[in-house]
């Protein structure tokens, strides 16, 4: 069972780069055009543009549940110098995306904004946000299924604080930007 456990862990590390990819978020970071480490009052935060190659997912996923993919975060940090009430927006998506948001922090699903300001150095407690992409059959075999990104904006002024590019592709052979989900 020791060997089985290690193999299971290795396999999870492999498919975890292409399925339900977890990533860290912090603001203000501007547009994240390349892997960046943001240093501030909390732990160093690696921000990386996400690319997810659907062809690299696990066999069972591709066989049984191929047309739905998801990304997730448990970590949004304020690395700025002032308290900010933030909102989130997924841009340039032409097909349905379900937002599943849970946090020990007040959130308004209508406007996709958090209702209280996040203090400098603070992260949203017990956060779990899943974005579930329901890929239509017409796009399922396109080389580029989604090319957009996630915006963190100041909910009071509308100013963009961080833009994280996200791509869902087929056949590129690489995925990038994943993090260990059990933080």
């Amino acid at each position: 069972m020791f060997a089985v456990t290690i193999v299971a862990s290795s396999y999870a590390a492999d498919f975890g780069k292409h399925e339900m990819v977890h990533f860290w978020l912090a603001f203000p970071a501007g547009t994240v055009i390349k892997p960046t480490v943001l240093r501030g009052p909390g732990p160093p935060i690696a921000l990386t543009p996400l690319t997810i190659d659907l062809d690299q997912r696990g066999v069972l996923k591709n066989l049984l549940n191929p047309s739905i993919e998801a990304i997730s975060t448990h970590w949004i940090y304020n690395y700025g110098k002032k308290p900010v009430r933030i909102g989130l927006e997924l841009v340039n998506c032409t097909f349905p995306v379900i937002w599943e948001v849970g946090a020990n922090f007040p959130y308004d699903p209508e406007t996709r904004t958090f209702m209280q300001p996040l203090m400098p150095g603070q992260s949203i407690p017990n956060l779990g946000i899943d974005w579930i992409f329901k890929i239509p059959p017409s796009l399922m075999y396109s080389p580029v299924i989604y090319d957009g990104g996630l915006v963190i904006f100041d909910a009071d002024t509308g100013e963009t604080l961080t833009f994280l590019p996200i791509k869902i592709v087929r056949g590129s052979g690489v995925s990038s930007g994943g993090a260990n989900c059990c933080g």
């Binding site: 089985v4 456990t5 999870a12 739905i68 946090a103 020990n104 017990n126």
Partner: protein
């Protein structure tokens, strides 16, 4: 191993009622205990089975992520309570309340597969070896990932193979939130197959997942073993009355009855099925030192 309404069901009625209570206490949309805990602590998280994580605090302890233990104090507190109760009273949570184990065990008991098609390791040493082989692997991964010794080659196996998540999603789906069962990643599919199908329906007793993939269950039995040696609550066997009829072995969901009919404490979940089935009253749940 199947439920016999006139005997098994009646004899173990409190335990099976406890299974139902466990579901309502921990699993959303009900999750009454989770709701009460969050309310008492003034937290506004969504009350689901996830709030009490069975695995991550153990991963954090061995991976040196102590700040996470504090940040997720509800899960940490839950693990402490479960281990303390296992030490004092035996692994009662595993045997009586855990919704993950109770559902797979129930599946095993109600789905009529002939026993010859079910996996059953009768040697308790082999079962224990496999169980603690998993636990050692789990701890090794926690150390290697937590201290970034192999963080790119290995992944913590808490969330990627999460039975709580699969059970919670199934429950949400059954009770009307169909979105919850739309997305399945590879790990969740593997969990569903190995927890309910292989570990549940096709393993004698239906506790395959608990035996071979649950770190909390394995740790609970470690502390139970220590507690039993100190004379705390455990199931005890009296050889003088035993007729070696094997009815105890056939009902034990965790294969914890040894050849000489004594209890292997690293496997026993204090379910009392053996106590209830034994026609000669050889088993008792007791404390104090054996005379």
């Amino acid at each position: 191993m199947w439920l016999k309404p006139n005997s098994t069901l009646v004899l173990n009625r409190w335990r099976y009622l406890s299974f139902i209570a466990g579901f309502f206490l921990f699993v959303a949309p009900f999750a009454f205990l989770v709701r009460a805990t969050l309310f008492a602590l003034g937290k506004i998280q969504e009350p689901t089975l996830h709030v009490f994580c069975y695995r991550m605090p153990i991963d954090w302890i061995f991976g040196g992520r102590y700040s996470s233990l504090i940040a997720s104090s509800v899960s940490t507190g839950f693990i402490v309570v479960i281990l303390a109760s296992a030490f004092l009273f035996g692994p009662l949570f595993c045997g009586w309340l855990c919704p993950v184990g109770s559902i797979s065990e129930s599946a095993s008991r109600v789905i009529p597969i002939p026993s010859k098609y079910r996996i059953w390791i009768k040697d308790t040493q082999i079962t224990s070896g496999l169980r603690y082989g998993f636990l050692v692997g789990f701890i090794a991964i926690a150390v290697l990932v937590g201290y970034k010794l192999a963080a790119s080659d290995l992944s913590s196996i808490c969330c990627r193979y999460c039975t709580s998540s699969v059970l919670q999603n199934l429950s949400s789906g059954i009770f009307g939130n169909f979105l919850a069962i739309e997305y399945w990643h590879t790990g969740a599919i593997i969990v569903l197959i190995s927890w309910l199908l292989i570990g549940g329906v096709f393993m004698q007793g239906g506790r395959g997942w608990c035996l071979f993939f649950c770190p909390l269950g394995a740790l609970s039995n470690v502390v139970h073993k220590v507690g039993a040696r100190l004379g705390l609550y455990r199931i005890e066997h009296s050889a003088s009355k035993c007729a070696s009829c094997n009815s105890c072995s056939s009902v034990c969901p965790t294969w914890a009855i040894k050849d000489d009919k004594t209890i292997e404490r690293s496997l026993c979940i204090a379910c009392k099925e053996c106590v209830n089935v034994c026609p000669n009253g050889c088993y008792s749940y007791q404390k104090g030192f054996k005379k």
